[in-house]
Assembly symmetry: C2
Homo-oligomer: 365 residues x 2
């Protein structure tokens, strides 16, 4: 079995605690011969700033470029509220996304049957929910220039951000979304604001062309982003795959995640283009939740989102779909047995610690 190189970037807050469980899982997989991972580890976010004065070092970036995949924890916290904008913890994450070319962010919002009651929504609306949000991740208002604050003659300030999309950027993310819809229920919703934004006009045009030319057998629906947010709350099960730009994806995936009632459960994958020669894609995997400074260091965090993100790595980066299936089944088993971390425990129910949950999942494999 060829050795695979994995870079672990735990980051800040609970990122450190949940990544510890991934490390244990890797040790288990290596030991049992199911995989052969070689791991490196580095700093990102606030902890990188404390060490190097920037949110990710050049050395860590180089390691990320060379790894077969990156596991990312979470970054940020009140401790770094006043660091310069360019060095804020999130800058490390944004640089990784951009420099590795990870344009396709896959965010499943799945409601685990055992947790349907944890949702704010009525059970019948979320039971069996299985949505995939495909978010463009290296363009749009996150990276467009100019992006600046200037002081005007009258002393006032003027802030500018620029939303930019090209045909090519929209085409490639549309293809990722259609490819996923193809192996799922065959339905893609494309979400933008073409009634207000020129980028929305181009988005709609390009997605429509890709549909006609390459995926005519699938069903494509266009939905305005505000209406999409609304419909996600009203009748979420009408959706299969949703594709949208970076900023709408940020908003819509958080709303979708919350529907499942278990933010601590949701993984994500960020993928680059396939290399023309080797066919390999750069990739980074991270939980949808953040660094949760309020509960950091207390062993309260739910490691499942990060373990499930690692499961996506097994599947998308390493072709180890058997191990990925076993991991997913182990997570379902452990939940089925009633094990709960605090975030998903019913009121009054006893909650287990981060490492108890991680240990139980590994044991169930």
């Amino acid at each position: 079995m060829a050795t695979q190189k994995l870079l672990l970037l735990p980051g800040d807050g609970i990122g450190v605690e949940v990544m510890a469980e991934v490390r244990r899982l890797i040790a288990f997989l290596n030991k049992s011969g199911l995989a052969s991972f070689e791991t490196e580890e580095d700093l990102v976010g606030g902890s990188a700033y404390d060490a190097h004065g920037k949110a990710i070092s050049e050395d860590a970036m180089k390691r990320a470029q060379e790894a077969d995949a990156v596991m990312f924890g979470a970054v940020g916290g009140p401790k770094w509220a006043d660091v310069p904008y360019e060095a804020r913890p999130e800058a490390g994450l944004l640089r990784l996304r951009k420099d590795l070319g990870l344009f396709a962010n896959l965010r499943p919002a799945v409601c685990y049957p055992a947790l349907a009651d944890a949702s704010s929504l009525k059970r019948e609306l979320v039971e069996g929910l299985d949505i995939m949000i495909v978010r463009e991740l290296t363009g749009g208002v996150y990276f467009g220039e100019p992006k600046e604050i200037v002081t005007l003659e009258n002393g006032q300030k003027r802030a500018v951000d620029t939303q930019v999309y090209t045909t090519h950027e929209i085409e490639r993310i549309a293809r990722v979304a259609f490819d996923l819809a193809k192996v799922r229920k065959g339905l893609l919703h494309s979400s933008e604001k073409h009634n207000v934004m020129k980028s929305g006009v181009l988005w709609k045009q390009v997605v429509t062309s890709v549909h006609k030319a390459e995926y005519p057998e699938l069903k494509l629906e266009h939905i305005l982003a505000d209406n999409c947010g609304m419909q996600l709350v009203r009748t979420p099960k009408q959706f299969d795959v949703i594709v949208c730009d970076n900023l709408f994806g940020d908003m819509l995936s958080d709303v979708a995640a919350m529907l499942t009632g278990s933010l601590g459960m949701l993984p994500s994958a960020s993928l680059g283009a396939a290399d023309a020669r080797t066919g390999k894609r750069k990739a980074m995997y991270e939980p949808v939740h953040g660094s949760a400074p309020d509960i950091a260091g207390k062993g309260l965090a739910n490691p499942i989102a990060t373990l499930a993100s690692f499961g996506m790595a097994l599947r998308y980066s390493f072709g180890l779909s058997e191990a990925a299936d076993r991991l997913d089944a182990a997570i379902a088993d452990v939940l089925g047995e009633g094990l709960r971390t605090k975030d998903i425990a019913a009121p009054g129910q006893n909650a287990v610690s981060t490492s108890d949950m991680g240990g139980a999942v590994i044991k169930a494999m």
Copy 2:
């Protein structure tokens, strides 16, 4: 009683039907001596395009400028899917907002007790919900330049939208929001993405300064827009007033509206700055819902959102708070009696028509 000038712009689809009920209500108020309105009427949106080739005529704009307030219905529909971008139905709405200087959009999300079960959310999460979203309405990515699609040398297209905010624009919307928080629960959430957008950085700074200098007695919380969307679904009652930019306001107010389970119930007010000499503000009132082409012309639309918007006009533009209170009470009474249009009827319950509902509200006054 001085005569007040009101311009009615029913627009397209169900806009026409719900505005008919406002006309009846005005006739009732005039007849009973509770008010003295003089109304004019004009086209906007697709119907204006059909008549004049643009989404609002210069003549209608002039009438809007001269009126004491504008009542707006809704615009758009599949019929106008292919009109040029500059003439699309929404352009009429955007021009009204911009040219009248209506920078403050107030969108209450209130859960009527009689309708708490219509929400997708569990009853206990929305019962008693009363949020006010204050959305900046004349700036941001809606109006910033450049806003264009250009064809590049390689034949690809490139679309650009520009998000711009100045200190002044943020200060004035922050004051509107703090003033509202002051007469409500004293809590303001300011929502942006300062971790990604420079306009978010400036937004946070300016709102913080206005808070310190002018409203130190109120509580201010900053919340990232994605997290705000999530928290609205998780525990909506944590919010009192939320202030945000044009695009986040568009998304967040739709999510908030849906929590109440009764989109057909929600009004909005769009206000300009007070005139330095007369103290008067330009203002436009409209339901949060759209033109709903699928049910247009069938008498199925719920007129309450538009009637309640007219109630906001009575309060904010005409100082007729007594009549506004009577209208609000009449709406609550009619709902309490169990009257329901289709959108808010329980499964299997008989629904009444648009004009039956409008008539019942007027009768209850």
